[in-house]
Amino acid sequence: MSLFTPDFGLLFWMVIAFGIVFVVLTKWGFPVIVKAVNDRKSYIDQSLQNAHEANERLDNIKVETDMLVAQAQVEKQTILKDAAKQKQRILAEAQEQANELTRKQMEQTKADIEEQRRQSLRQIRKETADLAIEMAKKVMQSELRDETAQRQSIENQLEDLEKG
């Protein structure tokens, strides 16, 4: 049966046909497809890797932000506390200064009043003396000739009075 004895003609053409198919597909067919698929595979892997890294970085950024916010919160607290202290201090200082000022003014006023009083006293004394002399002069015009000696005795008496 010819089915199990190869025909030379068919064998000949089969070698040529299969040879051409093999050469053409080896040169321009399968390597191109396999390479394209592999390239795409590595590109996808690379992209996934990149996306993963970006995600990780994003997560890190979030953690960092949270940390910054927490830090800022703490700083804010300390600043507020400081400000409160400062306020207390300034208030206390102002109070003290005001007190001091008042005290000084009071002293000044006291001194002024004292001075006034003294002047007034001196004035009064002088005027009293004058008045007394005048009075005495008038009373004793006739009786007393030596005005100066009289005045001196009165002055002395007044001094004694003051001392006493």
Partner: protein, 324 residues
């Protein structure tokens, strides 16, 4: 009605491409005849000149349908026949389809770098990737995968196309290519050449001086004989497995179809029931053959890959040493 004749005509090769018989007249395509005879040299003419037992330029068909030459002395001889027969036409067609298919896909990748194909190209990619990952890379592995993938993939698609073309019964398909020994022998011989021409030192050492007790290889080279016989049984099994599967499939389907016509003489009831049964079986067998078409292409590729990988023993170490 001669069932055996019909079946062998459908399964075999011929110089005329018979399409259909209409009103008792065959409608057929006469294919070119191309023969070389050592007496009269080249002959090239249409096979219509030899139709119905005619003799042309001293050539005629013998009882087996082969071209025979009768010389002046009346003695018969067979010239060298490289005619474009029905199967040769089929081979050309399959080659064209396979090349067009794969180059179309390869071109798509060139036009769309780093993109994933859909539809038809996606289907081919699926098959190529499946074979590359599960057959070539898992059996051979390493850098040799890239080296041998083109041959294995070419063999797969070529065999698959031959098988599928054989399953379509209408013109211009239906020739029995992979059920013809010339085709399967060529395919197996290519695998044999690829395996043995690329074989490593380790591979040849295992054949010519295997690792067995010395009395098995000297003075009588028992192991060597076994190994060398083994070299040739591999392509032989490849040839016969593919041939027998496809041949048997075609024969069974044709027998079932012929059953419809042979049962005419058995009466109307018998004929009708036989027609239904035969059709059901033929549909089943066709589906089966569709599976076998893929399966045999796959088996041929897988077996070739495993023979290649056996011949690549130690090639990875060798290339590593070369690099360092």
């Amino acid at each position: 009605m001669n069932t055996e004749e019909i079946i062998s005509e459908h399964i075999g090769d011929s110089h005329d491409w018979h399409i259909v018989t209409w009103n008792g007249h065959p409608i057929e395509l006469h294919l070119p005849i191309l023969v070389w005879s050592k007496n009269t040299g080249w002959h090239a003419f249409s096979s219509s000149h030899l139709a119905e037992g005619q003799t042309y330029e001293g050539l005629h068909y013998n009882e087996k349908g082969k071209i025979t030459e009768i010389d002046a002395n009346g003695s018969e001889s067979r010239p060298l026949d490289i005619s474009i027969t029905k199967n040769v036409c089929g081979l050309f067609m399959v080659s064209f389809i396979t090349i067009a298919l794969i180059l179309y896909c390869a071109n798509w990748y060139k036009k769309h770098p780093l993109q994933a194909p859909r539809g038809f190209v996606g289907l081919i990619e699926l098959v190529v990737c499946y074979l590359y990952d599960n057959v070539v890379d898992s059996v051979i592995g390493g850098r040799n995968s890239v080296r041998f993938a083109p041959y294995l993939l070419t063999a797969f698609f070529f065999i698959l196309m031959c098988n599928l073309v054989g399953l379509i019964p209408v013109f211009p398909f239906g020739m029995n290519l992979t059920g013809n020994i010339a085709v399967t022998v060529t395919l197996a011989a290519t695998t044999f050449l690829v395996v043995n021409l690329t074989g490593t030192k380790h591979y040849w050492k295992d054949i010519l001086w295997p690792n067995v007790p010395w009395f098995l290889k000297f003075p009588i080279p028992l192991m060597q004989v076994i190994e060398i016989v083994g070299l040739f049984t591999k392509p032989f099994s490849l040839t016969i497995r593919l041939l027998a599967n496809i041949f048997a499939g075609h024969t069974i389907i044709l027998s079932l179809i012929c059953m419809i016509f042979t049962s005419v003489s058995m009466g109307v009831t018998m004929h009708r029931s036989m027609t239904v049964v035969a059709l059901l079986f033929a549909v089943f067998m066709n589906m089966m053959e569709l599976l076998v078409a893929f399966l045999q292409a796959f088996v041929f590729t897988t077996m070739s890959a495993s023979y290649i990988s056996q011949a690549q023993v130690g090639s990875e170490e060798e290339s590593e040493i070369e690099e360092t």
